[in-house]
């Protein structure tokens, strides 16, 4: 079953690649959409097979591949990866749909499907080397997708992305080898490694390269500068994949490799990580506040939002872990929605410059539907109740507060800043009198509309019914959380139970 999730898009990628370039308009697109739909269907089917009560790895598959290298084809899914796999199915289909008429469709759709296979594989892999393989494979198509279909400075952005992420891969590989080499199990398998924890000094030693590698991918300040460039130059559907899925590989890695495989070091590093999260949130938010390019603004907002996930993963209470996965899902949906809408604005007006755009909400001559969805999207990102961003962040903050009260409160300042920078953006672009650019624009139907409506509906539905998203995660989160969770509500003695958390303030 799980192999199909990797195999179907891979097959699609090969098939689309075999269809000759001149074979009819839209054939590549149709075939790719078919495979995208199949992937989404399969990933939804996974929800039926998955048992949410079970905290461990499910539906595992295992074939020795190159045993001499320790490379074993091991797939499995648990509550952390399941929502991300489903989101992969959804966002790949949405990206395919939003692609519309691209140049060189054969290569384009083939690469997108290859990318999908690699991402699904990375989320499903249960072996460090296999994860690394997928992690590296994912680079090639994405690099090409930015470098060929990107904006004016695509070469610079794509190369920068490639180099940063390649370095990240090398760091991860170093960490992975260390993990396997130092442990007496000599295995790359997650389960085996988890059963043979290393002593603390060695864990700390290994955490450094792994954390750095993930920090580049997520990205965390100060390793983030490739992301705004990549987003600005990438085309809209690629931005969706980048923000919605690729960044999640990094945050997924935090839970998987940091918390799960190096638990002692993770706990030791906790306060530092939480402070790093604060720096990330505030730095990203304050930078977003002054961006003039809508896409760059959303990109910096993405960076800031990744900080919340780091905070929650560092806190590692059952609730904060649920919150961190929920936030990955929520950010995946919301940032994809925002990138789609920014892309649509760009497609219609030819600019993303906040200084040039005004009054786009105008019902007759503007883009009222896109504007309304944009208001919804930014409100979701800024944490308005009833939308998924709010409840995800509330869960996350509520879960992290007992462990890191000060850091949590500082991160919450970030949500205030989010509301501020997004509101300023909406206010400028959609309210007020129509600007010259807006009056001159040629409105044309773009492929972003339907996917944007779908994402917006999901943002609302999961905001009203958050249990549909967290249901899958809960058991796994409880399984992974720190053995002694500082659970105040059940401790019964609030003030004393709070002391460990309070002392971390000083």
């Amino acid at each position: 079953m799980l192999s199909l999730l990797v195999g179907i898009p891979l097959l699609g990628s090969i098939l689309v690649g075999l269809i000759p370039e001149r074979a009819g308009k839209g054939l590549h697109r149709t075939v790719a959409l078919g495979f995208g739909l199949a992937l989404l269907g399969l990933s939804l089917g996974l929800l039926l097979l998955f048992d949410p009560q079970e905290g461990g790895v499910q539906l595992a598959e295992r074939v020795a591949w190159i045993p001499q290298l320790g490379l074993v084809y091991e797939l499995g899914v648990d509550g952390i990866s399941l929502p991300l796999v489903v989101m992969t199915g959804l966002l790949v289909l949405i990206a395919l749909w939003a692609s519309g008429q691209v140049e060189r469709p054969r290569l384009y759709y083939s690469l997108v499907l290859l990318l999908a296979a690699a991402i699904a594989g990375a989320f499903l892999a249960q072996n460090l080397l296999l994860f690394f393989l997928f992690y590296e494979v994912e680079l090639i198509p994405l690099y090409l997708l930015i470098a060929i279909w990107g904006g004016p400075r695509r070469t610079y952005a794509a190369t920068k992305f490639l180099v940063y992420t390649a370095v990240s891969g090398i760091l991860l590989l170093i960490g992975f080898f260390g993990l396997s080499w130092l442990s007496d199990a000599h295995s790359f398998s997650y389960t085996v490694l988890q059963a043979h924890p290393l002593p603390l000094p060695q864990q700390l030693l290994l955490l450094v390269p792994i954390l750095l590698g993930l920090a580049i991918k997520i990205p965390l300040v100060p390793f983030h500068t490739w992301l705004p460039d990549a987003h600005v130059e990438a085309s809209t559907p690629i931005s969706v994949l980048l923000a919605g899925l690729l960044l999640k590989l990094g945050t997924y890695g935090l839970v998987r490799f940091g918390l799960q495989l190096l638990p002692a070091a993770w706990e030791q590093a906790g306060p530092w990580l939480a402070s790093w999260a604060v720096a990330n949130v505030l730095y990203g938010s304050l930078n977003a506040l002054v961006q003039q390019d809508m896409k760059k603004l959303v990109a910096y907002s993405s960076i800031a939002h990744m900080g919340y996930i780091l905070l929650a993963t560092a806190a590692a209470t059952p609730l904060s872990l649920v919150g961190s996965v929920f936030q990955m899902v929520s950010h995946g949906l919301i940032s994809s929605l925002l990138f789609l809408l920014v892309g649509a604005v760009y497609a219609n007006t030819g600019t993303r410059d906040l200084k040039l755009l005004r009054g786009l909400l105008n019902p007759e001559r503007g883009l009222p539907l896109l504007g309304s969805l944009m208001v919804l999207g930014v409100m979701a990102s800024g944490g308005t109740p009833g939308l998924v961003g709010f409840i995800a962040e509330f869960t996350l903050f509520r879960g992290s507060f007992p462990v890191f009260p000060l850091q949590t409160l500082l991160c919450m300042v970030g949500t205030g800043l989010t509301a501020a920078y997004f509101l300023l953006m909406v206010n400028r672009v959609f309210f007020g009198r129509l600007s010259e650019v807006a009056i001159a624009m040629q409105r044309h139907a773009t492929g972003e509309r339907l996917p944007a409506v779908v994402l917006a509906s999901l943002v609302v539905v999961l905001g009203l019914q958050p249990a549909w998203a967290t249901h899958w995660v809960e058991s796994t989160a409880a399984h992974l959380a720190k053995p002694v969770a500082l659970n105040l509500a059940e401790a019964g003695r609030p003030t004393t139970a709070f002391e460990p958390g309070f002392s971390s303030l000083r």
Binding site: L286, N287, P368, F390, F394, R398, M412, V413, F430, P494
Partner: protein, 619 residues
């Protein structure tokens, strides 16, 4: 067949109450979004009025059922994960249902009024949708017994305030006003959320009843109690336009007037309602209580003074709203939540009536500038009556409206804190002075160019105004009927005499200054006029203390990001790959670079593996 008993709508149906408004929003969307254009936007407004009427009727029906009974709590488990339990609970009692009736009654009147006021506005459908959203939120807050739920609803109100203030979004001033309203309230809401997260961790409960029990027994560290209390009051502080988060209400007067009617009466009340419910938790820390009293007093006196210098009809009354809400804050701080609630409700009625009068003036004269109004007394009888009765309902002069609550507050303060009694007298006097001033400038004196031909408004606007006028006139009788009539003890009589005297003095000074033949528009001292008209320069203070520092910090960081971090990381670690954008590979060339990287990687990996012999069979 179900008998009649099964069909009877019991208190459990209180769940429906907020949904009338939200369903109205959903139903109005086709018109609001411009999907249906043929019929014009009015059907959306009719639908919403119908639903609001249903909410009112339903609320009244339930109120009759629960009158005099113990409060009943309805629970619905919304979301439970790990140790977080978010149960939405409603308190069904005569108090909460009474508030629901009050909210939906005001909303109904405001919506009928809006039919007239926004007659020719193409945005009426959108307005109806937003009013439904507003109403649902306010009803929810009235019923909610869950701090979490209340927070969520308050935040929804923030959003709908933003959209309502920005209703005429093509106008630049409106856009700034909407932005400021949202951001100011958001600051308050953010602090409130911090408080909610903290209190939920400390107490493990998020229902008001649970918090009350917890507050009675807890021995929370005083520092934390104070910080938490301050965070919790920040939300209502912003919502009720209290110092220092009060400026938005003044700017929000750019919104269409029917929205202002609700905002100055009901929406600010929603914020204060949460504060009142939180009172037991706030009382954990004397610091919080003290801050409430101080903020309330500053806003009450400051707001009353600033109102005196406004020449904008709506703004002068919006400052007076802040001032009265300041009295509510002080009352909560003094541990008088019941009196605070009564003041809130009575003030809301009088203020709604005043704002209806303001709306008629704006509608017929197309101006809200006091300097352009005058001599309307004989031309607009219904508006004149609304204005006069509304004014008398605001102050303690005749036994109408707020009189009944102000005298009781004064009586309580005379025992607890006589200084606050002085504040009441001062605010009462200043408000009376301002109301007399506005009355004189609008209705007396000689007609101005814009008022010479002004007619009375049509019945759609006049009807709600008359209803509310009659209602205000009947307050003493209604209070007696419902058993809220205070015992008429001598101390209370003294307070009544004192307050009436202060009201009379204020009104007298106002009449003396502004009712004469000559039009005096400004205060006697220009510096004072400027200071007050500019709201003690609060806007400039925001700029200097908050907006500019944050903006400078952001710009600094952005510069650092572009020139420092990017360059440093690029430069130090990857110098040899980058020489800016000078890489002139062809596409295939870059492919080769990549393949090279992979090959190097594989070689390194293999070499490494071969060096560690035991890894061969390891998995």
């Amino acid at each position: 067949m179900a008998g009649f008993e099964d069909w009877a709508i019991g208190p459990e149906s209180a769940w429906w109450l907020p949904f009338y408004g939200w369903v109205g929003t959903a139903l109005a969307l086709p018109w609001a979004s411009g999907w249906i254009k043929r019929s014009g936007p009015r059907p959306a407004a009719y639908l919403n009025i119908l639903l609001t009427f249903a909410a009112l009727a339903h609320g009244l029906w339930l109120l009759r059922q629960v009158w005099g009974r113990d409060p009943q709590i309805l629970n619905y488990l919304w979301f439970r994960v790990a140790d977080l339990d978010l149960t939405l609970s409603l308190e069904v009692s005569s108090l909460t249902l009474g508030t629901v009736v009050w909210f939906s009654g005001l909303s109904l009147l405001a919506q009928i009024y809006a039919l007239g006021y926004l007659d020719k506005d193409w945005g009426l459908g959108r307005f109806a949708a937003l009013m439904g959203f507003f109403e649902g939120g306010m009803t929810g807050i009235a019923l909610s017994d869950s701090l979490f739920f209340s927070y969520a609803l308050l935040e929804m109100l923030t959003l709908s305030t933003y959209l309502l203030v920005g209703f005429w979004y093509a106008q630049p001033l409106v856009v700034t006003a909407a932005r400021d309203a949202f951001l100011t309230k958001r600051v308050g809401d953010l602090l409130l959320l911090m408080g909610v997260v903290a209190v939920s961790n400390f107490s493990g409960s998020l229902t008001f009843s649970g918090l009350r029990d917890w507050a009675a027994t807890t021995s929370l560290d005083p520092t934390w109690a104070a910080l938490m209390g301050l965070a919790l009051i920040a939300g209502p502080l912003g919502k009720c336009a209290q110092f220092p988060l009060h400026l938005w209400l003044d700017e929000a007067m750019e919104a269409p007037n029917p929205a202002s009617i609700l905002r100055n009466s009901a929406v600010v009340a929603a914020g204060a309602f949460v504060l009142i419910k939180l009172q037991p938790v706030l009382s954990l820390s004397p610091v919080t209580d003290g801050v409430l009293v101080v903020i309330g007093t500053i806003t009450a006196i400051g707001g009353s003074l600033v109102a005196l210098a406004q020449i904008d009809l709506k703004r002068t009354f919006s400052y007076s709203t802040s001032a009265y809400l300041g009295l509510v804050f002080a009352a909560v701080g003094m541990g008088q939540p019941d009196l605070a609630l009564e003041l809130l409700l009575l003030h809301g009625l009088a203020k709604a009536l005043l704002f209806m009068g303001v709306g008629s003036l704006i509608y017929t004269t197309a101006t809200q500038d006091l300097t352009e109004l005058g001599g309307l007394g004989g031309r607009m009888p219904a508006t004149l009556a609304a204005f006069a009765v509304g004014s008398l309902g605001m102050v303690a002069l005749l036994p109408l409206g707020c009189f009944w609550i102000l005298i009781r507050l004064a009586l309580v303060y005379s025992a607890l804190q006589p200084a606050l009694m002085g504040v009441l007298l001062l605010v009462n006097g200043l408000t009376a002075l301002n109301l007399a001033r506005v009355f004189g400038l609008v209705f007396l004196g000689s007609p101005q160019p814009k008022t010479r031909r002004a007619p009375e408004v049509g019945w759609l606007m006049a009807l709600p105004m008359v209803i509310l006028t009659v209602q205000t006139l009947l307050t003493p009788w209604l209070l007696w009927r419902w058993g809220f009539y205070p015992a008429w003890i001598p101390e209370l009589q003294q307070m009544a005499a004192l307050l009436a005297a202060s009201g009379l003095l204020g009104a007298g000074v106002g009449a003396w200054l502004y009712w004469g033949g000559r039009r005096r528009l400004r205060l006697p001292w220009p510096e004072l006029q400027d200071l007050l008209a500019q709201d003690f320069y609060t806007g400039q203070l925001y700029q200097a203390l908050l907006v500019q520092p944050v903006s400078a910090l952001s710009r600094g960081l952005e510069w650092l990001d572009r020139n420092g971090v990017d360059g440093l990381v690029n430069g130090v670690s990857l110098a040899f790959w980058f020489s800016g954008e000078a890489l002139k590979y062809t596409l295939s060339g870059r492919m080769q670079l990549y393949v090279l990287l992979i090959v190097i990687g594989v070689v390194v990996v293999t070499a490494w593996l071969l060096r560690s012999p035991h890894l061969g069979l390891a998995y």
